[in-house]
């Protein structure tokens, strides 16, 4: 079978919309276009029914109840609402928030803003495998701590945080626990009861749904979590998020969750097989390659590999018929490598050379073989060009060189 190029293998950035999701959404653009807040005619009722159905589909995927689902424009908004909403609502109880250094910017920058308003934020470090140390967490808790915000899985290195254990600690101490679940929900089993999660951010476009729609799970029982709104207006979503609901988007998010619920186990198994095939093909044919992030606690569909002695941007240029991400933000003027890889203690030289492969629902074995072959061929070619590879082969210790940049 001929392979269609370019190949998409950047499913942490976004995913294509599943055709079944598109099909479910279509009627809500045209004949069922009503405003779900219109209580006095059939158009509104149809829209409301669709929204409530989606709420139930989402709740089922994470073992919540439908009323605990608040719709938003996406995970950035969900993270903002969770963190700012708790910070304002529980200000009298305390002003301390705990998060960690490899969170998404939607969490980190939200926390930074709160610091300007007088909140104290602890940014926990991560171990070499990308996971936080639970003793660090316990030590960071103070009587003023009102919120712990830790992601389920990292978007760059795919490491899974010890969410269940963190949830236990938070519960024990009576601290609210927010989880950015963007990369994990629909990919691995996420259970807000088992994990004692109080707030969970979800987005549709990472699980084969449309862009521009997401949700925040807000626990209603044991404890009942209250949030100050970030967006004020007509009092939609129980006053927590005003604004006319994006009904087609919400229908899409619901359908995407339903499909994940049915297919997640089989899909995770298939993608894990593809990932192993990819990893073995690449690492078996190339020396001096390194995996970033935990191998035991990891999303099944993801691998992040550093290729010593080649530079990330030139590698991407050589495999320009494959869509993957480089850990290096070298295209920007700052030449800064990824803050996530730096937090893991990956040296700047290796951080510049890392590639994230994000497998998804529509990737095939043929594509994996093609990608592996292209990567191996390009890395070999670039190493032939690399003075660092030559020096390393001659036995020069590159770290002891007096580089004059």
């Amino acid at each position: 079978m001929a392979i269609k190029l370019p190949i998409y293998m950047d499913n942490h950035a976004t995913t294509p919309v599943d055709p079944r999701v598109v099909e479910a959404m279509l009627p809500y653009f045209t004949e069922k276009f009503g405003n779900s807040a219109s209580r006095n005619h059939a158009f509104g009722w149809a829209a409301e029914e669709a929204v409530e159905n989606a709420r139930a589909q989402i709740a089922k995927l994470i073992n919540a109840t439908p009323k605990e689902i608040i719709f938003t424009s996406g995970a950035t908004e969900s993270n903002n609402l969770a963190i700012k909403g708790v910070a304002e609502m529980y200000r009298e109880k305390g002003n301390h928030i705990i998060t960690q250094v490899t969170e998404h910017k939607a969490v980190l920058d939200t926390c930074k803003r709160l610091e300007k308003y007088g909140y104290q934020v602890t940014y926990l470090p991560v171990e070499k495998d990308g996971r936080i140390n639970l003793d660090d967490l316990r030590r960071a808790i103070t009587p003023k701590t009102i919120l712990i915000s830790i992601m389920y899985a990292n978007n760059e290195i795919a490491a899974l945080q010890p969410i269940e254990e963190i949830g236990k600690i938070a519960k024990e101490k009576g601290i609210l626990f927010h989880v950015d679940g963007v990369q994990a929900v629909g990919k691995v089993p996420v259970d807000v009861q088992r994990d004692n999660i109080d707030l969970l951010s979800i987005t549709a476009h990472k699980i084969y749904g449309p862009k521009g729609v997401g949700a925040l799970y807000v626990r209603r029982r044991n404890p009942r979590v209250q949030l100050s709104a970030v967006i004020d207006g007509g009092g939609h979503e129980r006053g927590m998020r005003s604004g006319t609901l994006n009904v087609p988007g919400i229908v899409g998010l619901g359908k995407a969750c339903e499909i994940c619920n049915q297919e997640m186990a089989a899909e995770a198994k298939r993608l894990l097989g593809l990932r192993e095939r990819l990893t073995e093909a690449i690492m078996g044919q190339l020396d001096e390659t390194f995996i970033n992030g935990s191998m035991t606690h990891r999303l099944p569909h993801s691998i992040n590999i550093s290729f010593a002695y080649v530079e990330g941007e030139s590698l991407l240029m050589g495999i320009n018929d494959i869509a993957v991400s480089s850990g290096s933000a070298c295209t920007s003027a700052t030449l800064e490598p990824s803050y996530v890889l730096k937090a893991l203690g990956v040296g700047e030289d290796l951080a510049h050379t890392s590639i994230r492969f994000g497998l998804g629902r529509f990737n095939t074995e043929e594509e994996v073989d093609y990608v592996a072959a292209r990567v191996v061929e390009t890395v070999k070619r670039l190493r032939e060009l690399s003075p660092l590879y030559e020096m390393a082969k001659e036995g020069v210790d590159l770290s002891k060189m007096n580089w004059k940049a």
Binding site: M317, H352, P387, K404
Partner: protein
């Protein structure tokens, strides 16, 4: 990022890749940049001590496509030139030839530095002292 056709062409077909014997008295070696900055260039030239003409130039570069193209172009340009003519090559010439965007200007600067460093190394081997500050050796050395 969109690369110019010339950068892509050099990246796909780099000229004069390889190494010369760094212990040869006629060979000058320039090694500039640093791995943590994402760019290292090694430029070597074989220069006739009598005519001062650059007979051969080879490079190896760790860096982005623009860095590879800049050093590949530098080897093409210096060949057949005298040492003095090669020293007159400016990074802005490379920027113009490869249509480098502003964020990639440092690649051309590095290529100019590599030419100067290689020539300085050759001059040192010939017993010539570096006559001005701008010809300071930029060669990285093990320590």
């Amino acid at each position: 990022m969109a690369y110019s056709d010339k950068v892509i062409e050099h990246y796909n077909n780099p000229r004069n890749v390889g190494s010369l014997d760094k212990n040869d008295s006629k060979v000058g070696t320039g090694l500039v940049g640093a791995p943590e900055c994402g760019d290292v260039m090694k430029l070597q030239m074989k220069i006739d001590p009598e005519t001062r003409v650059i007979q051969e130039a080879k490079f190896k570069t760790f860096g982005c496509g623009s860095a590879i193209a800049s050093s590949s172009l530098a080897t093409e340009w210096v060949r057949g030139k005298t040492v003095e003519e090669a020293l007159a090559i400016k990074n802005t010439d490379i920027v113009r030839e490869l249509a480098l965007p502003p964020v990639k200007i440092h690649c051309s600067v590095l290529a100019e530095d590599a030419i100067k460093a290689a020539i300085t190394d050759w001059k040192t081997k010939q017993g010539e002292t570096s006559e001005s500050a701008q010809h300071q050796p930029a060669t990285a050395s093990a320590h």
